[in-house]
Subunit: 368 residues, 4 copies
C-alpha cells in the first residue's frame, strides 16, 4: 500500500528538527535549502561555506532572497579538536554534507568521535560519494585512498526503497549518486523478482547539466552544451559499481551493469534506459512493476512514456517497462537534484526521525 500522506501537513507535537548543511554553496546544498525551507518539521539552523563565510546565503543564492535569513558560517578547520567540533554543531540534530568526494569523510571521521554522534544525538547524511562504496572500490574508482575507511561499515546506503529499515536507525547515511539512484530504482523490481539469477543490464543514461555541479567548465559551457549531446566515461563510470552494490542489498545473486552516461542539454533530470534479458520470458514484467510501484509513494509506474518534466523539481521517480518475451527495457527518470540527491536525503531524514516519510516532499513537479 502507498505510504500515507496523512498528517504531513500538521507539525508533530514536538519541536522541529534542527538541521545544518555542511557545504551550502553548490547546487545540492542549495536544493537542500530550497526543500528544507518548506519542511514543516525541520528548521534550517546552520549552513557552512568556506568560500562565502560571512556572506548572506541569499546574496550567493538570489533565489532564496526573502526566504532565508542565514549567513554562511566558516566550517571548523580540518584537525580541529573535538570540543571545537562539538560546539560547532551543538545545536543540531542532523547534519547534511554536500561537498565534493573525499572532502566529507575526514570531517565526518572527526565528528564520529564526538559524544553527540556516538549517542545518536547528532546524525549525519552524506550526499557525497565517500561512504557509498567499499574502501577498495572507492580507491579504485575515485583514484585515491579512502580518507576514513574505518567508518564505512557504519554507513547505511541511503536508498529508502532498498534499505528503509537500516536507514531508520542509522547514525550515518550514504545518500546514493544520482545516476545510481535512477537506475537502481528502475531495476529494483526485476532484481527482487529474479534475485537469484545474475542479471546483466546494459544502461544508457542521460543527465542534465546540473549534474556537473556549480563550477563552470568546458563541459558545461553553454555554447558547447546547448543543442548538443555527448557521452563520457563509457563503461567506466563509477556509478556502475555503485548500482551493482546497491542492488546486491536487495538480491542474493549479482547484477552486472554496463553503464553509458550521456550529457544532455537540459538542466535537471536523469533519463535512463536499461536493456535486460530476463531468465523467464513468461513473467508479466509490466504487472510486476505496477505492483511494486503501488507500494512505493515516490515510484510512479507510467503506462505511457515517462518524461523528465513530470518529475523536475519533485521527489518522484517515474518508471515504465516494455517486454518482448525475455527482452525487457526499463525506463526510469528522476530529478538528479531531488530524488537523485537532496530530496532523497530528506526522505532519509524523515525516516531517521520518524517523521511521515513524504513530509516536505509532496510538491508537484514544475511542469512545464
Amino acid at each position: 500500500m502507498k505510504r500515507s500522506l496523512e498528517n504531513q501537513r500538521q507539525p508533530s507535537s514536538g519541536a522541529p528538527l534542527k538541521v545544518g548543511v555542511f557545504g551550502g554553496s553548490g547546487y545540492v546544498g542549495l536544493e537542500l535549502m530550497r526543500l528544507l525551507l518548506n519542511h514543516v518539521q525541520a528548521d534550517l539552523a546552520l549552513v557552512t561555506s568556506r568560500e562565502y563565510a560571512g556572506k548572506s546565503v541569499a546574496s550567493v543564492h538570489p533565489s532564496l532572497e526573502g526566504l532565508c535569513p542565514l549567513i554562511f558560517v566558516e566550517p571548523p578547520a580540518l584537525g580541529s579538536p573535538i570540543e571545537v567540533l562539538d560546539s560547532a554543531f551543538a545545536e543540531l540534530d542532523l547534519l547534511f554534507f554536500a561537498v565534493p568526494h573525499a572532502q566529507s569523510s575526514p570531517v565526518i571521521g572527526a565528528i564520529s568521535k564526538c559524544e553527540r554522534f556516538v549517542s545518536g544525538d547528532l546524525r549525519i547524511i552524506d550526499l557525497g560519494a565517500d561512504f557509498r562504496l567499499s574502501a577498495e572500490h572507492f580507491s579504485q574508482f575515485y583514484k585515491q585512498q579512502h580518507p576514513c575507511p574505518e567508518l564505512i561499515a557504519e554507513a547505511v546506503y541511503g536508498t529508502p526503497e532498498v534499505s528503509r529499515d537500516g536507514i531508520k536507525s542509522a547514525r550515518l547515511v550514504a545518500n546514493p549518486g544520482c545516476f545510481a539512484n535512477c537506475v537502481t530504482l528502475g531495476l529494483l523490481p526485476l532484481v527482487l523478482h529474479f534475485g537469484k539469477h545474475p542479471l546483466v543490464a546494459r544502461v544508457s543514461a542521460v543527465t542534465g547539466s546540473t549534474g556537473s555541479g556549480v563550477t563552470a567548465t568546458a563541459k558545461t559551457h553553454h555554447p558547447a552544451r546547448n543543442e548538443s549531446m555527448s557521452s563520457y566515461e563509457v563503461l567506466t563510470h563509477r556509478h556502475g559499481p555503485e548500482i551493482e552494490q546497491a542492488l546486491s542489498l536487495a538480491q542474493s545473486g549479482a547484477t552486472k551493469i554496463h553503464l553509458v552516461p550521456h550529457s544532455g542539454n537540459f538542466s535537471r533530470g536523469i533519463y535512463s534506459t536499461s536493456f535486460v534479458t530476463i531468465p523467464d520470458g513468461s513473467v508479466d514484467v509490466v504487472e510486476l512493476y505496477r505492483k511494486f510501484c503501488a507500494t512505493e509513494f515516490f515510484m510512479r509506474y507510467r503506462d505511457v512514456t515517462p518524461r523528465v518534466l513530470d518529475v523536475r523539481g519533485s521527489n518522484f521517480c517515474d518508471i515504465t517497462v516494455r517486454q518482448q518475451g525475455s527482452e525487457v527495457v526499463v525506463i526510469s527518470t528522476l530529478d538528479n537534484l531531488v530524488k537523485g540527491a537532496a530530496g532523497n536525503a530528506i526522505q532519509n531524514m524523515n525516516l531517521m526521525y520518524h517523521i511521515p516519510e513524504t513530509t516536505g516532499l509532496c510538491a508537484a513537479a514544475l511542469f512545464p
Copy 2:
C-alpha cells in the same frame, strides 16, 4: 515593512477554503492546482474540463500523479438555469476561472445572479482577460463585444501591490495579464512618485513559451521556437492598454506605454526592460525602488541584474533600476505562470479570505 511570514505554516482554526478551478486542462489551471495542493488553508475540491470530463486529472497532467485524486468534471452548459449553477458550485467558497478570453464572462455573468455570489459566499477570481479592461477597450483589443459588460464595474483589478484593499472585499477579481503584471510592478514605484506627471515608458518584454498556452501552434513548435527569438504585435499588444489602466489606479496622471512583446526560447518567465525619462533627474531612483520593494514581500529589489531563473516557479517579481540623470531603465522579471497568473491569483485569494498573504506562496524558485 515586509508583510510577515508568521503563522503561515499553521492552518487557521477554521476549516480550509473549498476552492474550484474552472478550466483545468491548460497551463494556468495546472499551475493553480500545483500551488493549491501545497496550500495549507485551501482544499482543491473541483476541477472542470469540457474536453477531459470523466478522466482523472493526473492522467492529463502526469506531474500530479500521486498528489491529486480528482476527476475532471463537466462544467455546467451555457444557459443552465440558476439552480444548476447553484448546485454545481454549492460546496465551493471560491472559484478560479482559467479559460480563454470571452469564455469566462458568460458563465460568470450567470453565476453572478446566484444567491451565493450575491451574498459573497461564492467569490470568483478570473485569470482571463474578460474583466480587466473597460468594455470599450475590451471590444477594441479583443475584437469582439464584451459578453457581460454589466459586471465589469463589479470587478476589482487584481494586482495586490496596486489595489490590495479593494481586493480584500471583492466578490470578483480580474487577475492581471502576465506581461501586464510584470511591467506594472516594475513601473509602480516610479508612477507612485511622479504620479502627477504623465510618464512615457518604452517597454521591451520577452516571454517564455508557456505564455502561449497548452495548445501546440506553429509559433510554439519546438524547432521554430528553440534557439530563436522573435517579436509580435509590436506596439499593438493588448497588454499595453492594460498596463496603462493598471497604473492609472495608482496615479493621478497617465502613463503611456509603448510595448514590444518578444517570444523567447525559454519555457517560463517574462523579462521586461522599460525606458522612462523622468521629470526630475535629481531624484535617486534606486533609493526609491529599494524603499518601495522593502514594503512588498513579493517584489525583490536586486542590486545586480535580475535573472529569470531566480523567480521561476516562485511568486516573486525581481526588479532593478539604472539611472543616468533623467534617463531611467527599469528591469523586472517574474514567472508568467506564477506571479504572472496562478500565484498572483492565490495571493488575491489569501487577501480575500484574510489568510496571511504569503501562505502557500513561499516556495523558492527552482534554480537552476
Copy 3:
C-alpha cells in the same frame, strides 16, 4: 583511402544537373534546397507544394530570402495522364521526393511509366519510407498496403557506404530513415567483420525535434519538449527492421536490432548508443573502426566522445567505439536532416551522376 576532395570546386565541363524537389514545404524539402543552392553542379529548377502553390518559396521559408527566387508549383494531380507527368518534369534530370510516407509511391509509380524514367533520363530519389522495406514489412510497420509494390524491386537502398555501386546505376533510390542511417553506419564496421555471425544490438537513440517534421504537435510543443526527454515506440519503431534490412545488404548473417527511440530537447541531430556482444573479444574493435572510417569521407572516427554539435548542419557521421572484451559500445551521431536525410540524398545524387561524391557537402558543421 579517403575519397578525394579534388575537383569539387570546379564545375564539370557539362551543364549542371536540373533537379526538382517534390514536396518543398517541410524541413527535409527546405534542407534539400539549402544544400542544393550551394551545389556547383546542380540547378534547383522546380519545387512543388500543394499547400503553397503560387507562393514564393522564400515567403514560406524566410531563411531562403535573397537566395531562392522560385515559386512553389502545384504538383500534377494523382491519376494524371502520362503526358501531363512527362511535361511536368520535362526539364528535370532528377527529382527528389520529400513527402510523408505513402504519398510518394503512387506518384512515382505513375512516373515510372514515363519514357524519360524508363530511359534513365529522369531519375528519382525518394526521401520517404515507401521504397525502403519489402512490401510485407511496409504493410506491417506502416499499417497500410503498399501503394506501388511492383516498383520496390527497382529501388536501391540509399546508404552510399553500404551500396555505393548499386546507387550509381539506380533509377530509383530509397534514401534511408534518419535513425536507420545513424545506427546502420555505426554498426557497419562490426557487421562487415563479423558478418557470418548473427549479431544482436541493443540501441538507445535520441533524436532532435526536427525529426518530427514541420507540423506542430503536442509532442513538439515547445513547453513540453524543452528541458525534457522521453521515449516512444520502445522496441516497436519501424526503423528497427529497416536497420536490420540495411545491414543485411552488407553481411551474410543477420543482425537483430532492439531499438529504443527517444525525444531529445535539441532541434537537430541523432545520437545513438548501441550495445553489442561480439563473438570474439580478442578482436581490436577500435582498430577495426579506425580503419574503416579512414576509407569513408563522411564517417569520422573519434577518439574522444562524439558530440551532436560537431556534425550539426554537416553531412558527417561521427563515431566512436569502446570495448571491454566481447562487450562493445558503438556511439554514432549525425544531423538527422543532413546525413540522416537531405545530405545523404545529395551524396546519392552525386554518385548517380558521377559528380565527385563530396561535392556540395563539405560545409563544416555549425559549431557552436
Copy 4:
C-alpha cells in the same frame, strides 16, 4: 539594386588569396575558418594559437575534422624584429586578427612597419575592438591605454553598408562589434534620412551565449544560462559609443544610443529592438527601409517579424520596422559570429580584393 550574385561561383582567373587567422582557438577564429574553407577565392594558409601551437586545428575544433589539415602555428613573440614578422606572414595577402581586445594592436603596430604592409601587399582585418574607437574612447571604455594609438587613423571602420568605399582601399580594417553591427544596420536607414537631426535611440538587445567567447565562465555556465535571461552593463556597454561613432560616419548630426544588453539562452544570434522618436511622423518609415534594404544584399527587409533562426549561420541581417506617427520601433537580427563578426570580415575581404562582395557568404541560414 541588389549587388549581383553573378560570377561568384567561378573563381577569378587569378590565384586565390592567401589568408591567415591570427588567433584561431576561439569562436570567431573557428567561424572564420568555417567560412573561408568554403570560399572559392581564398586559401586558408596559416592559423596561429599560442595555446595550441603544434596541435592540429581539427583536434581543437572537431567540427573541422576532414576539412582542415592545418596545424596551429605559434605566433611571433611580442617585440620580434621586423624580419621575423616579415617572414612569419610572408606568404599571406591578408591576415585576420581574432584575439581579445588590446592583444591585436601591439602586433599590428609592429607589422605596420613591415614593407609588405606599407606597400599594401599584406593587409589586415582586426575583428577585435582595438581600432574601432578613438584612443580616448578606447581608454575610457576598455579601461586601459591604447597600445598603438598612432595606427588608429589608418583604420577604416568595417561596416560595408556604411563605408564600402573606404574599406576597398584600406590596409587596416576595424571590423565592428556584434551588438554594434546589429544596431548600426538597423538604424542606418533612419540616420541617413534624418541625418541632420540628432536622434535618440533606446535599444534593448539580446545576445546568444557565443558572444561571451570560448572560455567557460559563471555567466555561461549551462545551468545558469539555460532557461534564463538577464541583462548586464545597462547603459554602460561599450558598444553604445561604438554605434554612435559608426552612425556618425553616415550623418552630419549625432545619434545618442541608450543601450541595454541582455544575455539570452540561445547560442547564436543578436536580437535588437530600438525605440526612436523621429522628427517628422509623416515620413513613411516602412517604405524608407524597404527601399534601403533593396540596395543591400545582406540587409533583408521583413514584413513579418524577423527571427534569429532565419539568419543563424548566415551573413544576413533581417530587419523590420513599425511606426505609430513619430514613434518608431526598429527590429534587427543577425548571427553574432557571422554578420556580427567573421562573415562581415569576409565581406570586407571581398571588397578589399575586388572579389564579388557576396562570394563565400551565400549559404542560407541553418533553419531550423
